[in-house]
């Protein structure tokens, strides 16, 4: 039976097992999932005063539907400035955090894919927003427009960013959270909390729900990853 035994030296099964365990350990050591979740939650909550006090701006084409009233898209002014700036800043903070943390620990994380994805998402978000604004609901298929508007939301951009992070970290738990978050954002799920559309605070439930999903996710990951632990 000497022909089918392992070669002298290390046992292949043990080598493979220890290699997998080592790779898993290194991946776990590089994860700091709680941080981007908390940053994106903070960005979402911080947008509430921007929506409330940012002023209203009529933007895009106004459409006359038959003999009915003109339909114009109206959006808070601050939203257009706040979200691109906040998302870019959030990305920069997250990337800087990962670089600083990984250097301190002696194992550098690959941040470039995440940064490139962030730039692509930011450009796509701006493009989708401009498209949606120039294609009012009266000018095309309502379902397509509605989907386009939802995909153009900054919260959807956050979902995409989390998806990229789940891939970069090879983190299934984050992937599950991202799917749940995307469902809440895209369906959208309001848990029955809806304010009068004419209210000046009509957007609060949407932002509080989206931000709370991120906040709870961040807290859960922080409890699991325990960043306060020495060497964690």
């Amino acid at each position: 039976m000497a022909t089918e035994t392992a070669p002298p030296g290390d046992d292949p099964r043990q080598l493979l097992t220890s290699t997998r365990e080592l790779a898993q350990r290194v991946r776990r050591a590089q994860r700091a999932t709680w941080f981007p979740l908390l940053v994106f939650a903070a960005v979402t909550f911080a947008s509430i005063p921007v929506y409330r006090y940012g002023g209203i701006h009529h933007f895009g084409k106004c459409v006359v539907t038959g003999s009915g009233p003109r339909g114009c898209a109206a959006y808070p002014n601050g939203e257009f400035v706040y979200w691109p700036a906040a998302l870019v800043l959030a990305y920069a903070v997250i990337a800087a955090f990962y670089i600083r943390r990984s250097r301190a620990r002696g194992i550098e994380t690959r941040v470039r894919p995440y940064a490139i994805a962030g730039i692509i998402i930011a450009v796509a978000l701006i493009g989708a927003t401009l498209w949606a604004l120039n294609h009012p609901s009266g000018g095309g298929p309502a379902g397509l427009h509605s989907l386009g508007m939802r995909l153009a939301t900054p919260t959807c951009a956050i979902g995409l960013a989390l998806l990229v992070l789940a891939w970069a970290e090879r983190n299934r738990a984050l992937l599950l959270l991202t799917v749940a978050y995307s469902a809440v954002v895209l369906v959208p799920i309001s848990f029955g909390w809806v304010l009068d559309p004419l209210s000046r605070w009509y957007f609060v439930p949407r932002l509080v729900i989206d931000g709370s999903v991120l906040l709870l996710g961040g807290i859960c990951f922080a409890l699991a990853q325990r960043p306060w632990r020495p060497g964690a």
Partner: protein, 108 residues
């Protein structure tokens, strides 16, 4: 008759410590000497020897620098190192499956 999977093993990579170094380096952009020493539970001299073997084989590159006043050595896996690691894993899986198929087949 195909050759035995053991023949496909790379002597440089098929070693517990060197395989560990390549595995860790593969998972990161680059890794610091002290991280490897701690995680592989090696002395500095022993680790240096293994790093030298891998560097000579072109599987890693070493980069010396400073973090503040502390001297640091960073290790980066090369393309050849990634290929060698993937080949080693594939050969190990093949070897295990060969052992399992021979050991698990009851005699007729």
């Amino acid at each position: 008759m195909t050759s035995h999977p053991a023949n496909g093993l790379n002597d440089v990579v098929h070693q517990r410590v060197r395989l560990g170094i390549l595995t860790i380096a593969h998972e990161a952009r680059r890794v610091e000497f002290s991280y490897l020493r701690t995680n592989l539970e090696l002395s500095a001299g022993n680790l240096s020897q293994h790093l030298g073997v891998l560097e000579n084989a072109g599987l890693i590159t070493l980069e010396k620098g400073y973090a503040g006043k502390r001297a640091r050595t960073w290790i980066t896996i090369t393309k050849a190192g990634q290929t060698a690691l993937a080949d080693e894993i594939a050969q190990l899986k093949l070897l295990i499956s060969r052992i399992d198929s021979v050991g698990g087949t009851p005699p007729d």
